[in-house]
Symmetry: C2
Subunit: 376 residues, 2 copies
Amino acid sequence: MKPHLQATEQLIAQPGSRALIPTPAAVLDIDAFERNVMKMQARAKAAGLALRPHAKSHKCSALALRQIEAGAVGVCCAKLAEAEALAAAGVAQILVTSPITGATQAERAAALAEDLADFRIVLDHPDGAVELGAAAQGLIQVLIDVDPGMGRTGVHDAAQALAVWRAIQVQPNLTLLGVQCYGGNWQHMEGANERAAAVADGMVRLKAVIAALRDAGAPVGVVTGGGTGTFAADAAQGVLTEVQPGSYAFMDREYRDCLKADPDGAFEQALTIAATVISTNNPKWVTVDAGLKAFATDGPLPVPLTPKFAASAYHFFGDEHGMLMRTPGQAIERGERVDFVPPHIDPTLDRYEVIHLVRGDALVEIVPIEARGASQ
Amino acid sequence: MKPHLQATEQLIAQPGSRALIPTPAAVLDIDAFERNVMKMQARAKAAGLALRPHAKSHKCSALALRQIEAGAVGVCCAKLAEAEALAAAGVAQILVTSPITGATQAERAAALAEDLADFRIVLDHPDGAVELGAAAQGLIQVLIDVDPGMGRTGVHDAAQALAVWRAIQVQPNLTLLGVQCYGGNWQHMEGANERAAAVADGMVRLKAVIAALRDAGAPVGVVTGGGTGTFAADAAQGVLTEVQPGSYAFMDREYRDCLKADPDGAFEQALTIAATVISTNNPKWVTVDAGLKAFATDGPLPVPLTPKFAASAYHFFGDEHGMLMRTPGQAIERGERVDFVPPHIDPTLDRYEVIHLVRGDALVEIVPIEARGASQ
């Protein structure tokens, strides 16, 4: 742990300590997080869906364990290393949502299958089944990844799905649980009707693959997929048995902008990035200590949440700094703090070593982001 | 250290082990790095300039120590936490190049001044001098940060510089070494003449501030600034006594695109990002395991360096994946490896926990990026 984080631990539980957390910092309102978690859990229950939150959003065992305690059947991890890091920290129910390749990765997956109470991984190629079968020490639970039409991973059609199923069938240590189908490109479409239409199209494709697999004798029990943006549409379609949303627990500008008042967007901004004004010499703007290394840069810009700066535009100003425009007549002092809505939550949290949990104005806990940068 | 990194350590010194490093991975050709380091050292020596490489590019004590061993007078750190992390790992000569604010940061700077053989920090406001003076346990070496016209940090003009100098003068524990002036916006201008003209303009401004400070009795010995893109112009101007380049040791696409064959760009691409093809089901492209979390997203796109993929365009494809376009008739297998030129080196390396040092086809050492994410 870095020296400044050790010092920050001394602040825990002190009134007003939130304002003393060294910035830039990822700050989570733990009450808002828990309300978000309970709300999604209730939505899933009402729809008869299992909830398996995607841990790629937080990459943090403490939060994964809270989600499981609240009723989630487990979590998703994007990559093997993410799963390994969370497994080492005590998360025992993990689905790896990206295909892997090669003997070394297959051996790592096999080791996780041995170690964890419930490990699952997707495949999208017959050779993946051969590799995993060769590495297996005991039974490994697999799902066939189905491409919803975006062409990132997954089988393209029923013929490819059947080829993977045949390769699984001849591996005595692989057991098929079902299929995965995740439309990453559907999540940030503006308009509930537009998202619903995209999901409906994708589900036609998925249902054809499922039907072909079942005709061939493949046991398709689990149908997992979906995200924060498509929950309502996924529930309405009734094809999925399990959903994988991640961002709902934190929220970010991308989802706020496109989901707006839809039921899918009715989650609180629980995660903010705290920054500090460090230079005030310029008449048109001030400089804050949060730049390209503090916020995701692949989406929209961060927006200030602190009321005083609600009308102040932020611009990136290099690796370590941001430009916050002054509004007319506004007096701003060095050392003033500004909370921001993060632009895109997953890569934003990937830039931090820890998340600071706060309740009201007090820092209450510091939790490590163990699977930060674990893309391997 | 993450589980997969522990396993990777077993590969060290094995022939062919470079091809077995789990991807995405930051890979440094250590011979090319050392040639880059020696070349910049020779350029600085020939120009009569002290070389203080900016560690914000690598954030790694092992590489900072190699730069110092090769003749650098020390390194720069962008933020206090970056300095603390490198200091804890044995780097003893550090200049912090951003102003700080508040009592806690001043106390942290004072502690570094006590601990390190040679600690220096910039100021751009009289209150910064008051805070640092109040926290000082012994002498603290400071420099006045001068804004070259970009308005990020630094004093705006001679009047502001003199106000900071007067505030330093009355603090018995602060000792002024000189000034800093860094034109971040000049570094990536295309054309050596354009960069030289921008530097010349900025130096007029800087010389006026230095003259005013000297007239007021301020000892301006050190004049530090400059980067990889402006070395030739900085040397020609003769105002700086010390230069702060960082990217030259690694190189990236941004500098390759704008420096081209200029002497400032005559450094080798020592740092690459290794990725692996993980899905081949789509006829138009394949999917690699390196996406938004593997490359900086604030600049141009990564470009493949592996000859087979030299004509293949890369596009981001979500947090964890990239799309690599197929060229006509190209057969690509799952598991094939692709090396990429990183787009922007500083935030790219910030996404990794370690740098893999290679010599030829062998992994020879794994060094931690201790100051990763240390923006506080």
